[in-house]
Symmetry: C2
Subunit: 550 residues, 2 copies
């Protein structure tokens, strides 16, 4: 009997637990728990409290229910003896953060705070903290903060201190009540192990921490708001646990929830995108993992640091110990296609799978044939412009334009967005030697993969696993267990044994690439004009909308 590891991937809409064979990475079973409250973006659960635009919350009890529902089902359905499970790892969307009491109790479960939006978990795509992000960037630029370069020159509204500062500014009482502010990932590990830890991946990528310099100074935080000066010591921690380590072992309570044995090693928490990289074989310098789903996340290994415009961050040991991990992202990809399929496609496409019908018709079109071009900013732009206020644009419509043409233009726009990121790395001297895609989109949409290859001029491989985050988490679980217990001592070793590529290779077609070069030139011009301040129409429309909505 091989030793097993469990990976639990906490996503945007559901949690997924996967059982993996530590010897060869075979995935033996999976169980999914769809969150009861999903993404909370209209009103608080069982409440009349309406949320402002750009808000996106989650319920921390959905995470516990994932442990209570999915895990026992996984063990039962696979007939697994809990004694054979040598380690558990988890990964999460990020920055997804919440305020708690000193004992870890989320503020939103307290009766007196249940109707206060700021007491809930702020999901990664909560975009209402843009004013706070603007202030963070402005003050950092004024003070010449050295860490700003590590994040491409801009901190995002999605990140930890933007969200924390929003709580302080809009709900000072909630902020005051919060003994702890932490990533949901670390909160779940706390529930599993009974110990509060802080993982180096979210600290580095989302909370401006680095192994060499720690957090920004108290002076800096005080310059944002005097009450914010001691946020790290008051509500966070300076001790950061490196990924690849062990956070602790399962408590009796958590063993009761999950059906696993108390004492089972639990890995330090990690981020879904970052944990996917070793699960997609991406461990060498120069290889890039693109995790493609509702959004795209680009994870690149580098042998040295570099300043890359608009990247989300570079963190030493951020993905694989010993290397610099670069992250960049596109804030909406699959989300745009889903939006289109749901809101913009007439009945004749709804007989079966809407996406399949659109892909079939879109695949018949040649590059450039639609006459359409889009800017893929339906959810702002994470890299390289780092601006949540940007919005979508579509140009070239005629009375003859048909849905598959728009669908293809939207795919192409996200591919152009990927190319902007790839070129930003290359022009900063960070070479890209190979690209591996993983996530939900590559297996579902071959047209999309070919368009990405044709647009970027790079060959795309695809990870064999269809659930790389959970596989990666299981790999980290095996590392938490260690070689002696039947696991591994490093994530690189685990990756060599447990991760592999699928058979697909998407190679750029030179003729298509030539046409896309011309369309890309148009994309870049519009990108710069609407994204870098030449034309502020998107911001103006958003401002008028905000005024009108009051």
């Amino acid at each position: 009997m091989s030793p097993y590891a469990v990976g639990i991937d906490f996503g945007t809409e559901s949690g997924r637990a996967v059982l993996v064979d530590c010897e060869d990475g075979a995935e033996l079973g999976a169980a999914v728990y769809p969150y009861r409250h999903g993404v909370i973006d209209e009103r608080l659960p069982e409440s009349e409290v309406e949320l402002e635009p750009d808000w996106a919350l989650q319920d921390p009890e959905d995470y516990v229910r994932t442990l209570q529902k999915a895990m026992p089902r996984l063990l039962a359905e696979t007939g697994t003896d809990p004694a054979d499970v040598i380690g558990v790892g988890i990964d999460f969307t990020a920055c997804t953060m919440l305020p708690t009491l000193a004992d870890g109790t989320p503020l939103c479960v307290l009766d007196e705070l249940r109707h206060e939006p700021h007491a809930w978990v702020k999901l990664w795509k909560h975009h209402a903290a843009q004013p706070e992000a603007d202030r963070i960037n402005e003050v950092a630029a004024e003070r010449g903060e050295p860490w700003l370069a590590r994040y491409g020159g801009k901190i995002s509204s999605e990140w930890f201190f933007s969200k924390a500062l929003q709580i302080l500014g809009e709900a000072p009482a909630v902020y005051g009540r919060a003994d702890r502010l932490l990533e949901a990932a670390d909160w779940v590990v706390w529930q599993l192990t009974g110990r509060e830890t802080r993982n180096s991946c979210t600290a580095g990528y989302k909370a401006i921490w680095s192994k060499r310099d720690g957090f920004p100074s108290d002076d800096y935080f005080a310059a944002l708001d005097p009450r914010f000066g001691r946020v790290v010591d008051e509500k966070m921690a300076r001790e950061i646990s490196p990924i690849g380590g062990r956070a602790g072992v399962l408590t009796e309570q958590a063993a009761g929830w999950t059906g696993l044995r108390a004492g089972t090693p639990v890995a330090v928490a990690n981020v879904d995108a970052h944990v996917s990289a070793p699960a997609a074989t991406v461990t060498e310098p120069g290889t890039t993992g693109v995790i493609m789903g509702t959004s795209n996340c680009h994870i690149l290994r580098g042998g040295r640091t570099a300043t890359v415009e608009g990247m989300c961050g570079v963190v030493e040991d951020g993905v694989v110990p010993g290397l610099f991990g670069f992250e960049a992202g596109q804030s909406a990809v699959g989300d745009i296609f889903a939006w289109f399929a749901e809101t913009s496609v007439p009945p004749e496409y709804h007989c079966g799978d809407v996406h399949a019908a659109l892909e079939r018709d879109a695949a018949r079109l040649r590059p450039g044939e639609s006459g359409l071009l889009a800017l893929d900013w339906w959810n702002g732009n994470r890299s390289i412009l780092v601006d949540a206020d940007l919005r979508g644009l579509l140009v070239g419509m005629t009375l003859a334009t048909r849905p598959p043409e728009i669908y293809r233009a939207l795919i192409e726009a996200t591919a152009f967005g990927t190319r902007v990121i790839v070129e930003a790395f290359e022009s900063a001297g960070v070479p890209i030697t190979g690209i591996v895609a993983c996530g939900g989109l590559p297996e579902r949409n071959r047209l999309l993969m070919q368009i990405y290859a044709d647009v970027t001029g790079h060959e795309f491989s695809v990870a064999a696993s269809k659930q790389t985050p959970a596989l990666g988490s299981a790999m980290f679980g095996a590392v938490a267990a260690g070689a002696e217990a039947g696991g591994y001592d490093t994530i690189v070793e685990a990756s060599r044994r447990m991760a592999r590529l699928g058979p697909e290779r998407y190679r750029p077609d030179p003729a298509a690439h030539a046409v896309y070069d011309r369309l890309y030139a148009e994309y870049v011009r519009l990108h710069d004009r609407f994204g870098r301040g030449g034309d502020d129409v998107m911001r103006t429309l958003k401002a008028i909308e905000a005024e009108v909505r009051g």
Copy 2:
């Protein structure tokens, strides 16, 4: 028994005959013939010959079938004695033109030319003659042709000589075979009366003719192409019949087709938009008629001529004798809404009337609330940019954008387009004292009318008649008969007695107007940037598309 007149409106998809009481303009009945071949834009009827993009043809036999089918049905259904019908008028889309033999036989009915696209009727929205229009404008500007100012500085690809020059360039044999090139409107009057006439309205607005200066010189036409130098004398005529006159009387053959009496007076042909103006009470200087349907046509009376940027034309006696008639246009309005409803709306809106459902939800939005802005160029821009190569643009989409928001943004975009035209007239010193809407849209879409009022800051009235072109044609039929026969001697008199306004008044809401002022400023900036040469992305996309499609 009152005397009656018949108006026949030849539209884009069908022909409509209406019986009108000459005393009070009461509409006693209508009969519609949907053209068997409708708009021919993919392949020739009963043929494998495919058309290029931007082509749009019609079948002249559909016009004859309208006379043969709709007219007898109208008489039968209303129980009318043909002896009580004192006059007939017709109106047409324009420029809709065709090549014929000397006896009026359309070239496309000849066996040897039936498979030749250039032998068919070129419909108004045939847009494939843009290169010819470019050349017409370039040569005119080089030579300093004085008539260019009458047409806002640009001749459209939709007009007569652009289309004629395309025939010459692409199908010289067809051009050579054509003894006559003429408007379909005049061709139908020829079929009714047995006499070829040329009406002053299409000659003035579509074929660069003026009462004072006639046509452009032979030298000019020869500069376009030596073979084109004598086009007027060889294939057209210099004798132009003023509107409001009598073209002739019904022949025995036409009486047989229609059921009317041989000898019934027939008015000089006219254009649908222009004939609508007196039917909407628009006969005084300063009043504007906006004929709103698949496209918008703006008809304005002025006491003097003026140079207005991008107007379609100013023609003395062009609409009402004794005044200057200005025309401007928006090449797609209802067509855009139809495109959206047909291609971009999910199943839940398709339970009943899609437009009604969209209007209902869009009416709940406040100006600016959608955060969206569009350029209404799905079919190019007729006024004031006069550029068929321009295309649509939509900006501001987020993942929360819903179909009624886009629908409203499209309505608003066409209203902004109307405001650009209104302001072009005003800034050229042509005052606008009142606006009357007519056509299919105003009665169907109250939201649209209110948005037009709010965007322009002008009050909109609506013509009482729901079929103003046919009513206007009947009025011209009554004028062709004359007062002695129970009709009228002038169209102004006929308008006073036979036309009226409906009860609706759409008054601008000051708060909405203030928001729209801000959105309009954004519209104008994008309009100028994408329309006047600052950013050529639309043209570039069109050029790449044309190359790819080969």
